[in-house]
C-alpha cells in the first residue's frame, strides 16, 4: 500500500512538472517574434494593428481584470508619453469581464476579445511587453502593475537608450 501511494505521488509530481514545462513553453518568451494582431478600440476610435508599427519600439500593457482602473494606469501612461518623441508606441490591452467598463485613457485602449479572429490573447496577466522595431519581444515583465512600476521604468529607460543607439548606428551606416 505504501509503495502504491509513493508511486502515485511520484507520478503526480512528474505529471505536474510536465504541465509546467508545457505552460512555460506555450508562453511567449523574449527573443521571439511577436505574432501580428489587429484589435478594435475599447473606448472608441481606431483599431490598431501591430504589424503597422514595425520600425518603432512598442510597449504593450496587458491588463488583468480592470473596471475603470485608470488611476492605476496613469503612471504608466505618463511614462509611455515621456518617450513619445522617441517614437514609442504604447497600448493598453483590456479584456472585457461581465459589466466591467474599460479605463478611459489618452493612449489607445484595445479590446481583447476572441470575437475578433485577427487578435490573440496573452496569459498570464498583467504583463508588459517591450517589442523592438523588428517585431521581436525584448522584455517581458510579469506581475501586478502596481508592484512593477519601478522595474518597468528602469527597463524601459535602458531599452529605449539601446533602441536609440541602434537606430543611430543604422542611420550612420
Amino acid at each position: 500500500m505504501g509503495h502504491f501511494i509513493r508511486l502515485l505521488f511520484l507520478s503526480l509530481c512528474v505529471i505536474s512538472a510536465q504541465a509546467e514545462e508545457l505552460s512555460a513553453a506555450d508562453t511567449l518568451a523574449p527573443g521571439q517574434l511577436v505574432d501580428d494582431f489587429s484589435m478594435p478600440s475599447a473606448i472608441g476610435g481606431w483599431g490598431q494593428r501591430l504589424a503597422e508599427q514595425r520600425g518603432k519600439p512598442v510597449m504593450l500593457i496587458w491588463l488583468d481584470r480592470c473596471n475603470q482602473c485608470q488611476e492605476e494606469l496613469v503612471r504608466y501612461q505618463l511614462l509611455a508619453e515621456s518617450y513619445a518623441l522617441d517614437q514609442l508606441v504604447a497600448w493598453f490591452i483590456w479584456a472585457p469581464h461581465k459589466n466591467d467598463v474599460p479605463p478611459k485613457m489618452r493612449l489607445p485602449v484595445l479590446l481583447n476579445d476572441q470575437y475578433w479572429s485577427q487578435s490573440w490573447g496573452f496569459n498570464p496577466r498583467p504583463a508588459i511587453m517591450l517589442i523592438n522595431k523588428d517585431g521581436v519581444l525584448d522584455h517581458l515583465i510579469l506581475g501586478e502593475l502596481s508592484g512593477h512600476y519601478d522595474e518597468t521604468e528602469k527597463t524601459l529607460a535602458q531599452w529605449m537608450t539601446e533602441q536609440q543607439l541602434q537606430a543611430s548606428a543604422e542611420n550612420g551606416q
Binding site: W46, G47, Q48, R49, Y115, S117, Q118
Partner: protein, 172 residues
C-alpha cells in the same frame, strides 16, 4: 613568302575572333538562363493555379472585397460579413488602412468557399459619421452562386444630398 604572310594573317584573324566567340557564347548562356528562369516562373504560376483550383475550385470560389468612395460622411472601424455555409468574416480597420481606402484602394477582404445555390448575406459595417457619432451600415442581400467564381464588393459611398453614406453590394 606570300603563303606564309597569308597564313600569319589567318592566324591573327583567328586570335582576334576568339574573344568575339567567347562573348557570343556568354550571350547564348545568358539567353538560356533567362529562358530557364522564365520557364521556372511559368511552372510556378501553373503550380499555384493548380493548387488554387484544387483547394478552391471555381464552383465554390467566392471572394469579398471592400471599398470606400470619398468617405467624407463615414469612416469604417470594422466590417462583419455573415451568412449560412461559411464562417463569418470580420475585419478591424486601422487609420492607415482607411487612408488607403480613401485614396481608392480596394481591399481583398476574404476568399471563401461557398456551395452553389442561393445564399443570404448580411454585412454590418461599423464606423463613425462626420460628427463622430457611431453608425452602422447594413447590407442584406441574397446572392446566387453558380459554377463560376463569385466576386462581391461591399461599397460604401457618400450620399451628398443626405449628408450621409450608404453601403451596397456590387457584383464583379
Amino acid at each position: 613568302m606570300k603563303k606564309l604572310s597569308l597564313l600569319a594573317a589567318c592566324a591573327l584573324l583567328g586570335i582576334l575572333a576568339m574573344p568575339v566567340q567567347a562573348e557570343q557564347q556568354n550571350a547564348n548562356i545568358a539567353a538560356d538562363i533567362v529562358q530557364v528562369k522564365r520557364s521556372v516562373l511559368e511552372l510556378n504560376k501553373d503550380l499555384y493555379e493548380l493548387e488554387e483550383d484544387l483547394l478552391s475550385p471555381a464552383t465554390t470560389r467566392a471572394a469579398f472585397y471592400f471599398s470606400l468612395t470619398y468617405g467624407e460622411f463615414f469612416e469604417p472601424l470594422s466590417i462583419e460579413v455573415s451568412g449560412a455555409g461559411f464562417e463569418a468574416v470580420r475585419h478591424i480597420y486601422t487609420e492607415r488602412q482607411v487612408a488607403a481606402l480613401r485614396m481608392g484602394a480596394v481591399q481583398p477582404l476574404a476568399n471563401i468557399n461557398l456551395g452553389p445555390g442561393k445564399h443570404n448575406l448580411r454585412a454590418i459595417i461599423r464606423g463613425v459619421d462626420q460628427l463622430g457619432q457611431n453608425r452602422e451600415l447594413v447590407v442584406e442581400q441574397q446572392v446566387e452562386k453558380t459554377d463560376k467564381p463569385l466576386l462581391l464588393e461591399f461599397v460604401v459611398s457618400d450620399v451628398a444630398e443626405q449628408q450621409s453614406a450608404a453601403a451596397q453590394l456590387k457584383f464583379w
